[in-house]
């Protein structure tokens, strides 16, 4: 039995090597984004080569992972889905019991590598929703919706409890996008949205104090210019002083002089906006729009419901990163720790994002086979 399994693995590896299954348009766009990210990283870190190099290594790791996942047929992914989902939820429970990290239990130390199990959910969550809905008649009825709600709520609750509002938000979004793309009727969407709005004051009650302060700061950042409002004010100054054409690469004084906190991670978009101006921002947003559009196109061309829903959810979740981060650094949304995809410094998010694009590549590369 082990022999046949090993033979299967060997066969898969051979197949991966023989037939590259990538969408070159999407790959090119991602590559361009990664290069922009590295250049911005290099500038924001004060021309620190080692930091750009470290990020480059992470992107390369993520790229390799993407290439590997791209070779896995969607049907295989589909078969693994319940186990992957269950496994990641178990890890979340483990991390809640044993985890470590600054002020939040997010990390799991495996000895050779430390990682956040919540990052796994960014992939396994849409997979699970797609897997479940694939078995149900669509558009989803209340029963499907209820099951999906439970599937989302368990990990999201565990993550929000860590507390990591940003990641919880992304995971909830990726699950809901599956339901939306599955064709949940508009009146049900309206009903849900209405009840969420009604429940908002109750949710406010359950938020952590630091989370409430972030919302308060959004409303009036100048009330605490050196405390919590500092991030928003300095970020807006960075963005606004960039103007139409920007101050030029490595001329952004806000980040270089360390007025801007977290200027290589969550606030790197501010650095980019300061140095490249509105023109650079618009071009970057166009690049993001292209990536999202191309991903949705891949989803639309997938030949089974599981692949479609999975690809669509991943694409739209990618958008959530951009809009939440962009809204944050311009002071339009609260400060939520969501990185700018593939530009912010940090390995976990780069790797999990690229893994997601690996799934997209796989769906794209295997569409004919599935159709046949």
């Amino acid at each position: 039995m082990i022999d046949t399994w090993l033979a299967g693995v060997r066969q898969s590896v051979m197949r991966i090597v023989r037939r590259p299954r990538v969408d070159f348009a999407l790959l090119g766009a991602l590559l361009l984004l990664a290069l922009i990210g590295l250049a911005t990283q290099y500038s924001a870190s004060g021309l620190d080569r080692s930091q750009a190099m470290a990020q480059g290594v992470r992107l390369a790791l993520g790229g390799t992972l993407m290439a590997l996942i791209a070779r896995i047929p969607p049907s295989t992914l589909r078969n693994w889905t319940p186990w992957a989902y269950a496994g990641s939820v178990v890890l979340l429970v483990v991390v809640a019991l044993l985890g470590e990290g600054r002020g939040a239990h997010r990390w799991l130390d495996l000895g050779f590598v430390r990682f956040q199990p919540s990052e796994l959910l960014k992939l396994t969550m849409p997979m699970m929703v797609a897997w479940y809905l694939n078995q149900r008649a669509l558009p989803p009825d209340w029963t499907s919706l209820g099951v999906v709600g439970v599937l989302i709520a368990i990990p999201a609750g565990l993550i929000a409890e860590q507390p990591d509002l940003g990641t919880a938000l992304l995971i909830v979004a990726s699950g809901l996008f599956g339901v939306f793309l599955a064709g949940l009727s508009w009146w049900r969407i309206g009903l849900i949205a209405g009840s969420v709005a009604a429940a908002a004051p109750v949710a406010w009650h359950f938020l952590h104090e630091y989370q409430r302060n972030r919302v308060r700061m959004l409303i009036d950042p100048d009330s605490d210019p050196l405390g919590l409002g500092w991030h928003i004010i300095q970020s807006k100054i960075a963005v606004g002083s960039g103007g139409l054409w920007g101050k030029g690469w490595h001329n952004g004084t806000q980040s270089r002089l360390e007025f801007l906190p977290e200027h290589t991670t969550d606030f790197i978009f501010s650095v980019f906006a300061e140095e490249w101006g509105l023109v650079g921002v618009v071009l970057l947003l166009v690049l993001y729009a292209f990536i999202i559009g191309r991903s949705l196109w891949i989803a639309a061309n997938a030949k089974d419901t599981y692949s479609r829903l999975l690809a669509g959810s991943i694409s739209m979740a990618f958008f959530v990163y951009v809009i939440v981060n962009g809204g944050m650094i311009t002071g339009a949304l609260p400060v939520v720790g969501v990185p700018l995809p593939l530009i912010s410094y940090g390995g976990t998010s780069a790797v999990s994002l690229l893994a997601g694009f690996g799934v997209l590549m796989s769906i794209h590369g295997h569409r004919k086979r599935v159709a046949a």
């Binding site: 606004g240 002083s241 103007g243 559009g293 739209m316 809009i323 809204g327």
Partner: protein
């Protein structure tokens, strides 16, 4: 809906595409909204954020100009700037200020005065501005700090220029000192010009020529990071150093006089009668101005304040002395000029003078009197009776008026702050002071410089200089020349125009002068000893005023101790014919003017003579 709905994969695909399109449309709308948000910040509000970004990163740092130097007339340095180190604290970077100050006190030796000053300084300052805690650190203090530096976050040793007075207490009063600018100083100083300046002139020349000495500040635009740590200089406008000034003072005369006083309390002023240039201005005892520059300790200050000798009092400028007989040449001049006497008119001195019809007697110095004396003899022997009757004949109003022309009773207007006015006896003065009428007896004693008379040594020297210059008054002053910067030729200050001549008839002047020559060179002169061996003719006059009223018990005691008995004065100018120096010496305790004050004047004249100055003052800035 009891049955399980059938799965229609084709319909699902169509539904998905529709939803994906709707989703992408929403995404595009959201991205456009985000782009508009960027537009709002980067285009609409760009100016505002640009300004805030600049004010974030650019700090204007004032640069204090180097203070101008002060020289004597020959280029001897009286005030300079020397490199020193001070301890500075940036309050922002200190977590626990009290603990830090206590630690610094124990480790470096910061004292309570430093801490008190530092706390006063902190008020109204921003926390990222570093403030001096202790100035002029000793090498040991610097070393102790350096060893423990790691403990003191936010504390730095900063080099700076500090004022130094190489002549020490010799010029404590005259040159004065600079001190830390306090709230009172800020009222008279232009705040914008003193942004980076820590010290300003408090007294003396340092105070009166603050404007010249200070210079113009520069500034630096410094790029700072979020911690306000300066990173690089973007622009720099260098400060313009203050001007160097040359005083009319001749250090040699000053030093000789200072030594001759031998710590006896008193004052001396020497003036060039031709110009009003003050050649020496001495007040004994004095203090070391260097003590004040970096903040005098309270113990030192208390010692100076409490000393019975009042070392902080500038006796030359503000000291109150009864002129006594030194006023007689002026009274004599008044008598001649007002036509009350001729030089040859005589008076019989019997030892006691009476106002006609009054019983009270006014005594002569010599018991039994001097006999029949004319003006010259009366000056030479200081015959009181001559001046009693002369004053009475002139009358108090005429006397007041004429003495006023010599500058008595009001500040001379010298370029120093805080000059005393003295008292010129007059009806109106007495009315204002005591609300009493004037009595003839008061006119009598005013004739010998007693009664209400009060002069400052500077006033007396100024009057004497006017007399020596044949009655032509010159504004006494201390500023000789101003030098824009080192290497430039010092530019001599123009002389103020001479005042209205006090003496119209040269014969009158000659008569008074001859009397004063006789004081020094005559056989019966009261200062015969000091003319001996001096190559030029000296015209002088002694003055010996009683320190205590003869009716008090204090007098009974003090009369036993002759040296403590009198306030003694001496005034002299030389050469008598064409005076180039007029000097006044006042000693607060002595036996007689001729015996104790005159030798000091002679020492100063010797020093003056040491280097012939046919036209004193042309050699500005020449190396000593």
């Amino acid at each position: 809906m009891k049955f399980k709905p059938l799965k229609d994969t084709r319909q699902e695909a169509v539904l998905f595409v529709r939803r994906a399109l709707v989703g992408f449309a929403i995404i595009l709308c959201a991205l456009v909204a985000l782009a508009l948000r960027f537009w709002y910040l980067q285009v609409d509000r760009h100016q505002e954020f640009q300004a805030r970004s600049d004010s974030n990163r650019i700090l204007t740092r004032p640069l204090a100009p180097a203070r101008g130097l002060i020289y004597d007339r020959n280029g001897v340095l009286l005030a300079e700037n020397v490199a020193a180190f001070r301890l500075e604290i940036t309050p922002e970077q200190v977590a626990d200020m009290e603990a830090l100050l206590a630690d610094l006190a124990a480790t470096v030796g910061v004292n309570d005065d430093d801490v008190a000053r530092f706390k006063a300084l902190r008020k109204g300052k921003r926390s990222y501005e570093s403030l001096p805690l202790r100035l002029k650190l000793s090498e040991e203090e610097i070393a102790r700090f350096a060893v423990n530096r790691w403990r003191f976050t936010g504390v730095d040793v900063v080099p700076y220029l500090t004022r130094y007075y190489p002549k020490g207490k010799e010029f404590g009063h005259l040159v004065g000192y600079v001190g830390r600018i306090d709230a009172k100083d800020m009222e008279r100083l232009d705040v914008s010009r003193y942004a980076g300046t820590t010290h300003a002139g408090k007294t003396g020349i340092e105070r009166s020529y603050e404007e010249l000495l200070h210079g113009e500040p520069g500034y630096e635009l410094v790029e700072v990071n979020a911690d306000r740590r300066p990173l690089r200089v973007l622009d720099r406008v260098a400060p313009k150093p203050g001007k160097n000034i040359y005083l009319t003072i001749d250090v040699r005369i000053q030093e000789a006089g200072e030594d001759a006083f031998a710590d006896r309390a008193g004052a001396s002023v020497a003036i060039d009668p031709r110009s009003g240039e003050v050649l020496a201005m001495i007040s004994v005892p004095s203090f070391d101005p260097n003590l004040f520059v970096n903040g005098i300790g309270s113990a030192d200050y208390k010692a100076l304040l409490d000393s019975p000798d009042k070392p902080l009092l500038d006796r030359a400028l503000r000291g109150a002395y009864m002129p006594g007989s030194t006023i007689k040449p002026f009274i004599a001049t008044a008598g001649l000029e007002l036509g009350v006497r001729t030089p040859t008119d005589t008076v019989l001195s019997t030892g006691e003078f009476h106002i006609p019809g009054q019983k009270r007697g006014y005594r002569d110095i010599r018991a039994g009197g001097h006999g029949t004396v004319d003006l010259q003899q009366s000056i030479a022997q200081s015959v009181n009776t001559y001046f009693y009757s002369l004053a009475l004949d002139i009358g108090i109003d005429g006397l007041t008026d004429f003495m006023g022309r010599f500058g008595f009773g009001r500040p001379t207007g010298i370029d120093l702050v805080g000059e005393g006015s003295g008292v010129l006896p007059s009806r109106s003065w007495k009315r204002a002071r005591f609300n009493q009428p004037w009595y003839p007896g008061e006119t009598v004693i005013a004739g010998i410089g007693q009664g209400y008379w009060v002069v400052t040594p500077l006033q007396l020297a100024n009057g004497l200089a006017t007399l020596a210059a044949r009655g032509i008054p010159h504004q006494p002053h201390l500023l000789l020349a101003v030098q824009d910067s080192l290497g430039d030729v010092p530019e001599r200050q123009p002389l103020a125009p001479a005042g209205t001549p006090v003496i119209r008839d040269p014969a009158h002047w000659a008569a008074v002068r001859d009397g004063m020559i006789a004081v020094v060179h005559g056989p019966t002169g009261t200062a015969r000893t000091i003319g001996v061996g001096f190559p030029l003719t000296i015209a002088g006059k002694t003055g010996t005023a009683e320190r205590y009223s003869r009716t008090t018990e204090a007098w009974e005691h003090i009369s036993q101790v002759a040296i403590e008995r009198h306030q003694v004065l001496f005034e002299a100018f030389t050469p008598a014919e064409d005076a180039r120096i007029a000097v006044v010496v006042a000693l607060e305790a002595g036996r007689a003017g001729g015996r104790d004050a005159a030798p000091i004047a002679r020492t100063m004249l010797d020093a003056w003579l040491d280097q012939p100055q046919p036209d004193s003052g042309t050699t500005v800035g020449a190396a000593p």
